[in-house]
């Protein structure tokens, strides 16, 4: 039997969930603003590369982080510009940018390093791991929660930040108003395009941390197409969490759990191809189960309404 409740396993779950959680928070902001950001995948991939390159050449982790953010936000800006101002279908635009970045990152990597597989020749920096005082000394919990990468803690913080932004600030109120009903928002003087632009740019910043986590924490190099669908999994997580930061975090954790479970199975002689399928199959199953649940909720509500009407 696989022992799932070891602190090591739960540590892995948190580690694997980090990039999905960050991208999912980016997706939450976009969904709330009524824009679909399919380009999360491309944003992550781009920031993963630019973060590595800038940190490698400047030998400064903070400049590297800035480089990653600039790279990711650039893709988000392209999406916003084409979708909001040139009226490209936002889904098609996102697909186009994802195609562009898969090859585009290899193009840039080859032009700078002469390598097409990975940025091994660049001496890039990593984000540090952090031991939390006091918590690290608690037996099991310390092993689980302490010693993670800085970006993992940022991801957890991000859940609260996004929640605060959406529900406690004027901008968040406007953003949700635009997402709920753009015409109504526009009639009270909210510039819909501008709010959606900010939402997309902000999602670019958050997803960039997810991308940099891949190449500057999870691994120590950028490799071709290393995001491997995590941007799409994040979209599924946001859909399952109904774009609520807390619900979305739970969904992200679930996908991280399934991926870690896959790694556990690897040592048990199951062919690697099946291990590779685990995150994607669990995403599909997750989407279906959630959709089923929601349909039942809707049916229940309808029934209640009918019964109330009958009573009345």
């Amino acid at each position: 039997m696989i022992n799932l409740l070891t602190p090591e396993f739960l540590f892995t779950v948190i580690r694997v969930t980090t990039p999905i959680l960050l991208a999912a928070m980016a997706a939450v902001i976009c969904n709330k603003a009524g824009v679909v950001n399919i380009a999360l995948e491309g944003i992550m991939l781009t920031s993963a590369l630019t973060g590595v390159l800038v940190s490698g050449f400047t030998q400064n982790i903070w400049l590297g982080a800035l480089g990653g953010i600039v790279g990711g936000v650039f893709i988000a800006f392209l999406l916003a510009y084409f979708a909001l101002y040139l009226k490209t279908d936002i889904i098609l635009g996102g697909i186009a940018l994802n195609l562009l970045t898969v090859g585009g990152t290899v193009f840039v990597m080859f032009a700078i390093t002469g390598d097409k597989g990975a940025t091994n020749s660049v001496r890039s920096l990593q984000f540090p791991s952090i031991n939390i005082p006091f918590i690290q000394d608690i037996p099991i919990i310390g092993q689980m929660l302490s010693g993670h990468n800085l970006l993992t803690y940022l991801a957890i913080l991000m859940v609260f930040l996004v929640y605060f932004l959406l529900y406690k600030t004027t901008f968040g109120l406007r953003l949700r108003a635009v997402g709920e009903n753009p015409d109504a928002a526009s009639s009270v003087g909210i510039d819909v395009n501008r709010v959606q632009l900010y939402a997309l740019l902000l999602s670019g910043v958050i997803a960039s941390f997810g991308g940099m986590y891949m190449s500057m924490a999870y691994l120590k190099v950028f490799t071709t197409n290393m995001v491997a669908g995590r941007g799409y999994i994040a979209l599924a997580a946001a859909a399952m969490g109904q774009a609520n930061p807390v619900g979305t975090s739970i969904a992200s954790l679930l996908f991280g759990f399934m991926e870690s479970l896959g790694y556990q199975l690897q040592s048990r002689g199951i062919p690697s191809q099946f291990i590779n399928m685990v995150p994607y199959i669990s995403t599909i199953i997750g989407l279906v189960l959630y959709a089923q649940y929601r349909q039942r909720q809707i049916a229940k509500k309808k029934n209640q309404k009918i019964q109330e009407e009958v009573k009345a």
Binding site: L99, F107, V288, A291
Partner: protein
């Protein structure tokens, strides 16, 4: 009334041609700028990019060979997107189609002629089933077909690799590849000095059939109506659920068959170790070809030309092949930009209106 409508049509189609040309030119200019930026000998690289495909007879052959799977993928995406479904499963269907064709080729002892036909049919059905899954999930539970189809691509890729590498791998092949296909399974090469194969007839047949289907049958009509306005289609008595199902099945069938044609026409073994780089090009071919089966092969040839050019360039210069993804991304995003050159369109309409009245 009719005359005015015709007038508007002509402005629209003129404008469309202009918009497409400008989009392609801007994308090529972006490529040009990038090449200037990264290459030590940019003009040499550009020469290979643009003239490489017509430099040798063999290269012209390469353009045609590359255009065959691109046309299959373009038709596939055209049919699926025409029903207004963002189903991205073509690449998974292509990969599994190739896998199934390889398995049929290796396991069923069939005579020449019938063998590839059976392989193609099996591959098509499996491809169709793959792209039907997101459609079923959407119809039954209303979950996004875009995300589920993208996830399914990873599943199809790994399933195909598992089947070939664990059950049909030839340990003596030198590389990761299947056993050699028997002669009976192969699609014969047609023109000496190239690898242009019998698949070209199959793809032409498919273009004609899909055109007839979309333009001349009631199922094709129902499909287009559903794509244009789902509610309107529903109220006029079209079963939109059935339309979504058969459109996604046909789309996957085409992609699966394309994979089979590629594997049996171009290779003597199954040699894919990852998703072929062109597997996602169905989207750009469909967008460039305006989802019209007649334009799809033209778009596929244009794209194949750029691909072969980029390949020649990457072999002969210091610019990498992946340049083309940048060109392609820009082409899609600009062609899909409805407001791109909008002011120019208004000018054209005004000019047309004032010149005749």
């Amino acid at each position: 009334m009719l005359k005015q409508w015709l007038k508007k049509q002509s402005v629209d189609s003129k404008f469309e041609t202009l918009r497409f040309s400008v989009a392609i030119i801007i994308a090529l200019l972006v490529a040009f700028g990038l090449i200037l930026l990264v290459s030590k000998e940019p003009f040499e690289a550009l020469r290979h990019l643009f003239l490489g495909p017509i430099s040798k007879f063999r290269k012209i052959g390469n353009v045609v060979e590359t255009a065959i799977p691109l046309t299959f993928l373009g038709l596939s995406v055209s049919v699926m997107f025409s029903a207004n479904q963002f189903n991205m499963g073509s690449s998974g269907a292509l990969f599994m189609g190739g896998t199934v064709a390889a398995i049929v080729g290796l396991t069923l002892p069939l005579p020449t002629g019938i063998h590839p036909f059976v392989a193609l049919m099996f591959a098509g059905v499996v491809g169709g089933l793959i792209t039907s899954i997101p459609a079923i999930i959407k119809l039954k539970w209303n979950a996004s077909e875009l995300v589920s189809s993208l996830m399914l691509n990873f599943v199809a890729l790994n399933l195909g690799l598992y089947l070939i590498m664990n059950h049909f791998r030839d340990p003596d092949a030198g590389t990761l590849a299947s056993f050699k296909f028997p002669e009976t399974a192969l699609l014969p090469t047609l023109i000496k000095g190239t690898r242009i194969h019998f698949g070209i007839f199959i793809v032409i047949l498919m273009v004609v059939l899909i055109w007839l289907f979309l333009a001349k049958t009631k199922w094709g009509y129902a499909l287009r109506m559903t794509g244009m306005n789902m509610n309107f289609a529903k109220y006029s008595g079209i079963s939109t659920a059935a339309v979504i199902l058969y459109s996604q099945f046909i789309g996957g069938f085409l992609a699966g068959m394309g994979g089979a044609v590629e594997v049996l026409g171009m290779y003597d073994r199954f040699r894919w170790q990852m998703m072929p780089t062109y597997a996602f090009d169905g989207v750009i071919v469909a967008v460039l070809g305006k989802r019209n089966p007649i334009f799809v092969p033209v778009a596929a040839i244009l794209l194949a030309y750029i691909r072969v050019g980029a390949d020649t360039m990457s072999v002969n210069s210091d610019v990498s092949y992946e340049m083309i993804s940048i060109i392609q991304g820009f082409i899609i995003i600009m062609i899909a930009a409805n407001a791109f050159l909008k002011h120019y369109r208004q000018k054209m309409v005004v000019k047309e209106a004032t010149s005749h009245d």
